[in-house]
């Protein structure tokens, strides 16, 4: 799709300029809807949590509160960015940048549909996502350090320790996926799950699906693992000194990461853009007209709803419990399951290992 | 010593003590209204009913003497039932106007009703209403509130000495009142306000001006007489709202004279001087302290070049610290013309030494004096609390004699009373009676006085203000000292003002200098006056004003602004009153009583000791680096000048002029016009009109023939 654009452009201008313009268009096409999604995810979050508390959630700005995110954005943009006098100014400003950049960059390899609707269909896609999203922790550490505040520093320490811990479990979970799919290319991983709901990887890798999603919660610092923010303990954690747009950037990064994790889960374990009715005689035909992209969005929406549901349901973990869960439960489970998958692979078990 | 049991607690007591006293000592609370430790027992309120084992009915604790082995229950069912019933009866006719009652919040009835009263009254009939009485400017009455405890009646009979209030009628129709319309004017009547357990008698000047819980209490010493009554200054915010007595058994017991109680109004007078002022080219200008003090210091330095031409006068109502610092400044400038004896007219003893004003007995001892001779003294108005002690003594059978220029209304019987225009002649007769007791020429009364003094175990002669102001003071002193020597009595020259003794202590005296009379009669170039109103505080006010007018420079440290002051003074510096400064008063017995600041000085006025400290520094004098009034007091104690040449009258040859002096009628200072503050207390002013007195003293001598 974008190749065509590039080919058409290079007929008129320099090649490198054509490539550049194409890249820019690609970035805009991905980032703009992403930001919009983030905005409305915040509204959805408030609505969902409100509903679970028998409230209505925001309903004043626009019909059903639909303009609320825009009002919030305008408010945040108008607010003063306070630069603490004792902070390290350079790092203080660098930190939000470091937080949001990876959260956006990772989207480069996410396929949205069959037929290569992806910015860059590289072979080591999974590795890329893992690598890039890990960089996000620097933004948090640096913000905690640069703020020169005890709360922010404590938050940053907690966040970094937590991210490192859960990345291991996450990595192992992905290893099992790679073992089944025999590829690190995300499109190919989806294609490997073809053939109906039961062919998706969540079935043989159910524990890994759970572990991955839980690790995803922890990676994004979401409830019940939001000890890095822990407003009741350390005020707001690493971003306590940030205000206005600087704070908003952290906010965007967090929600972008949430959506990313949801996409990754959908792609890895829930068949990506594949229809759930594949192989079911009547339903398959009935829903044949539905685009793969819609299926993907529905799956992602469900996962995001889970994020919110968890937040409304579970109380925050104590910090030592977070570490215990990561190191003593999730990592052993994933290691065991790597061996289980190995055995299943050897015996060509079910429809998945062939 | 016997032992009794109250509520199961063993208590030691003296045989014959009243049960309520024993319980009070053991801190066992028994409610009461009519009982008061300083008054006789009436046992008419019945609130103190307690159960005594063996007695068929509950007994009043205030009128039940203790006996050995007595068992008392104050909280038993029977006792409480009795107390509650009494309370219910008392509340039948008591109006429910606590919210507008000045007593509300400090009311004994209210407090006891909280414990023993019922929520709802069973009495549905109409309540009794009693018309209020107008009993003068000091006490406001709401007689409907009266519960007939008769404390006020007993106070009048037993303490005041004048039965001003009484009870008429019986039961439902009993009323407390004056019977005929008249004002309550005794000099201690204000104590009825404290005594009244309800809001029937309340202070008129204080009426509707504050509620008790808003008031902050500050300990103070009353500056209006040399008793040094301990007072509690009640202030709301920065306003002195009232003055009540503090318990001080050795000085004022629980009482307070009306002068001390109501004079606080003067502090809040509109006359208060609130900013420093200087006169330039005949025009007054308000200036800041810096300017005023610099101006004064320059002038003082200028006139200090001729120190003998500068006079320093101070009111003896100033504090010890103020007097000390002022004399330190004056002596530092080389000025020796210092005086506080504003009322005195006869200074012929000054060359020999100074009379130390002093009461040589403690107040408790006064009550035990077997014989007392008052010479030229309206003690009841001069020192009401001392008079009260003397009254106690007289009522206990001791002998009180007096030699006065006029027959004064005294609230007890004077055993031997002599009224004559010429004090000298009368005193001479007493001397004669002592020297020749067998002589027949001498009237019986003088013999009685003489014998009472000489035969008594402890006897005392007290010289009051009339003697002190007499132009023949020296001769009176000589004759009384003769009487004292011959009879073995103690001679007291009573200090009248709050700090007469203090002024003597800090040597605020014209040692090597001119006394007040010389200052006023010789042409002085400059005067420094401390809280002094020359026209009223000095006996010969006209002469004083004339002298001040003639002086080139007059610096007044003053509480108040007045026309006459503006006429003669050149600088007016506002200073703080007794409630607004820290300081010390030395009372008649020599007790030094310090007090702290109760409220901030009004307007821009400042505590005088602080002003003197700054002025001392501006004049480049040594040793004015005080940071606290305590340091000044400590310095006074260190440099105690008690050892100055004591006057020994026996060694001085004083001729007693047998010639009679011509009498002029000069009004004696009224009880409520003793100092600038009392003169401005409006309620007292109104009250003093009722007292209305013109007392005659001998005026300057004019030799005849």
């Amino acid at each position: 799709m974008f190749d065509a654009l590039q080919g058409w452009l290079s007929g008129y201008i320099f090649d490198w300029l054509a490539i550049l313009i194409t890249l820019l268009v690609q970035a805009i096409v991905v980032i703009m809807p992403l930001m919009l999604a983030v905005a409305y995810l915040t509204l959805a979050e408030r609505k969902v949590i409100g509903f679970m508390q028998i409230r209505m959630g925001p309903n004043r700005v626009g019909t059903l509160g639909l303009l609320q995110p825009i009002a919030d954005a305008l408010k945040l943009m108008n607010k003063e960015i306070i630069l603490p006098s004792q902070s390290n100014l350079y790092l203080f400003i660098l930190a939000p940048t470091l937080a949001i950049a990876p959260a956006i960059a990772a989207w480069a390899v996410i396929p949205f549909n069959a037929d290569g609707v992806v910015v860059s269909d590289i072979n080591a896609g999974v590795l890329y996502v893992l690598a890039v999203s890990s960089i996000g922790v620097y933004g948090i550490i640096i913000s905690g350090w640069a703020s020169n505040s005890k709360y922010a520093f404590l938050g940053a320490m907690r966040a970094s320790a937590q991210k490192i811990s859960y990345e291991i479990a996450m990595g192992f979970a992905l290893v099992t996926v790679l073992m089944v799919a025999d590829s690190m290319n995300l499109t190919e991983i989806v294609n490997a799950q073809k053939g109906g709901m039961l062919n998706w990887l969540w079935v043989p890798l159910l524990p890994m699906f759970v572990v991955y999603f839980i690790s995803g919660l922890a990676e994004t610092n979401r409830a019940p693992f939001d000890v890095a923010e822990g407003e009741s303990e350390i005020v707001a954690g690493f971003h306590v000194e940030y205000s206005g747009m600087a704070f908003a950037v952290f906010f965007l990064a967090e929600y972008a990461m949430m959506i990313l994790i949801s996409f990754m889960t959908a792609i890895m374990f829930m068949g990506g853009w594949l229809s759930p009715f594949e192989g079911i005689p009547l339903l398959e035909d009935m829903f044949a007209w539905v685009s793969g992209f819609i299926w993907l969005v529905l799956k992602v929406s469900f996962l995001l709803f889970l994020f919110l549901w968890f937040r409304a349901t579970f109380p925050r973990y104590r910090y030592d419990q977070v570490m215990r869960l990561g190191w003593k439960v999730l990592i052993p489970v994933t290691i065991v399951w790597v061996f289980v998958v190995m055995i299943m692979e050897y015996f060509k078990f079910g429809p998945w290992f062939n | 010593m016997i032992k009794i049991e109250i509520n199961g607690q063993m208590v030691k007591a003296h045989e014959g003590d009243m049960l309520i006293d024993v319980a009070d000592d053991a801190h066992i609370a028994i409610p009461r209204f009519c009982y008061h430790k300083k008054l006789s027992i009436a046992a008419n309120c019945r609130m103190c009913l307690v159960e005594v084992e063996g007695a068929p009915k509950a007994l009043p604790a205030c009128a039940t003497p203790v006996t050995d082995g007595m068992k008392v229950q104050t909280k038993s069912v029977k006792a409480v039932a009795a107390q509650k019933s009494v309370m219910e009866f008392l509340l039948i006719n008591h109006p429910l106007d606590c919210p507008i009652c000045d007593q509300g919040g400090e009311c004994e009835l209210q407090d006891v009703a909280m414990q023993y009263g019922d929520d709802v009254s069973r009495f549905s009939e109409a309540k009794r209403v009693v018309a209020d009485k107008n009993i003068g400017a000091l006490i406001h009455t709401d007689m409907t509130r009266c519960i007939h405890c008769t404390r006020c009646v007993r106070f009048g009979q037993e303490i005041g000495g004048i039965m001003e209030l009484g009870a008429t009628g019986r039961s439902e129709w009993m009323e407390i009142g004056t019977y005929i319309e008249q004002s309550v004017i005794s000099e201690m009547s204000g104590n009825m306000i404290d005594l009244c357990p309800v809001g029937a008698l309340t202070s008129k000047p204080y009426r509707y001006s504050a509620r008790p819980w808003e008031l902050k209490s500050h300990h103070g010493i009353s500056p209006h007489d040399s008793i040094g009554s301990n007072i509690i200054i009640h202030a709301k915010g920065n306003d002195v709202k009232r003055v009540v007595p503090a318990d001080k058994e050795s000085i004022n017991e629980v009482w307070l004279s009306d002068r001390d109680r109501f004079a606080y109004e003067g502090i809040n007078s509109e006359d208060r001087l609130t900013a420093p002022m200087i006169k330039e080219n005949g025009k007054w200008r308000q200036v800041d302290w810096e300017t005023a003090l610099q101006f004064s210091a320059d002038k003082l330095k200028h006139y200090a070049a001729t120190p003998e031409m500068m006079g320093v006068l101070a009111s003896p109502t100033a504090t010890l610290e103020e007097l000390y610092l002022l004399q330190k400044i004056a002596r530092g400038l080389g000025v020796n013309n210092l005086d506080t004896r504003l009322r005195q007219q006869d200074f012929s003893l000054d060359s020999h030494g100074f009379v130390k004003p002093e009461l040589k007995h403690s107040f408790a001892e006064v009550e035990k004096l077997d014989a007392t001779l008052l010479v030229g003294s309206y003690l009841r108005h001069e020192l009401p609390m001392l008079n009260h002690r003397l009254r106690k003594a007289q009522l206990a059978g001791k002998i009180v004699s007096s030699i006065n220029t006029e027959k004064f209304e005294i609230n007890y019987e004077i055993n031997n009373e002599v009224v004559a225009d010429d004090l000298l002649a009368e005193l001479q007769l007493v001397v004669d009676a002592l020297e020749k007791p067998e002589s027949n020429n001498i009237d019986k009364v003088y013999k009685k006085i003489a014998s009472s003094l000489s035969t008594a175990g402890k006897s005392s002669i007290m010289l009051g203000q009339i003697s002190l102001m007499d132009v023949n003071f020296t001769k009176i002193l000589k004759l009384t000292s003769d009487i004292a020597r011959l009879s073995g009595a103690v001679l007291n020259v009573l200090p009248i003002s709050a700090n007469d003794v203090g002024a003597y202590m800090v040597n605020f005296l014209p040692e090597k200098g001119k006394n007040i009379q010389q200052m006023l009669t010789t042409q002085m170039k400059a005067f420094v006056n401390l809280s002094l109103e020359a026209e009223s505080d000095i006996t010969d006010g006209k002469l004083a004003i004339e002298a001040m007018r003639k002086a080139e420079f007059v610096l007044n440290f003053s509480l108040f602004d007045s026309e006459i002051q503006r006429e003669y003074a050149d600088v007016l510096l506002p200073i703080a009153s007794f409630a607004e400064t820290a300081g010390t008063f030395v009372n008649a017995m020599g007790t030094k009583q310090s007090f702290k600041m109760a409220v901030e000085p009004q307007g821009d006025s400042k505590a005088a000791w602080k002003v003197f400290r700054v002025l001392g520094n501006m004049l480049d004098l040594e040793g004015f680096d005080y940071t606290h009034s305590n340091q000044v007091f400590a310095e006074v104690l260190e440099n105690n000048i008690e050892t100055k040449n004591e006057l020994v009258l026996e060694k001085i040859d004083i001729k007693i002029d047998k010639k009679k002096s011509i009498k002029n009628k000069t009004p004696l200072i009224s009880i409520y016009e003793v100092d600038s503050i009392t003169r401005r207390a409006t309620a007292l002013k109104t009250a003093s009109k009722a007292v209305s007195e013109t007392i005659i003293v001998t005026a300057p001598v004019q030799e005849v023939g």
Partner: protein, 163 residues
């Protein structure tokens, strides 16, 4: 052993977590209890403690007798009263200020008032934007009382038997 297995089963099937999610899930679908305030209003009790008012007797005489009990009882020191003897000898306030910023609407003033002079009304829809107007003076409070007297009297009447 059985207990151990049961425990492990519970742990690894995340049963308890799912139970919790079922509960929140149920609430998600329930009818919402939110009151859309300016359009909808909750019922107000006659004892509601809103804006203060000073009342008068029917004859027009102000009820307040300056007993200062409300000032004394006020836990926030919001009330300031100055008083003096009026010309007819009665005790009246010259100043009765309530600082609405300090007030915590505890209702003690109303409870302590012996003449039902100071009351808290149902009115709660008012706001202040700066310090001066937040102090309700005697005149303002009396006017407010006059304006709402019928409602105030009705509320007191309803509540009278419980006082």
């Amino acid at each position: 052993m059985l207990a151990f297995l049961k425990h492990q089963f519970k742990t690894f099937t995340l049963l308890e977590l799912l139970k919790g999610m079922v509960i929140t899930g149920k609430y998600f679908l329930k009818k919402k209890i939110t009151v859309r305030y300016p359009e909808e209003k909750t019922p107000i009790s006659p004892r509601f403690r809103g804006h203060h008012a000073l009342r008068r007797y029917e004859g027009g005489e102000e009820r307040c007798i300056a007993c200062k009990l409300c000032e004394a009882v006020c836990p926030a020191n919001a009330i300031t009263i100055e008083f003096e003897q009026r010309d007819d000898g009665s005790r009246r306030t010259t100043q009765y200020d309530i600082d609405m910023f300090k007030c915590i609407y505890c209702g003690f003033c109303e409870e302590s008032c012996p003449t039902d002079a100071i009351v808290e009304t149902r009115v709660f829809e008012y706001e202040f934007h700066e310090r001066g107007p937040s102090i309700m003076t005697k005149d303002k409070l009396l006017d407010f009382g006059d304006k709402h007297e019928s409602q105030i009297a009705e509320d007191r009447a309803v509540d009278a038997k419980y006082r």
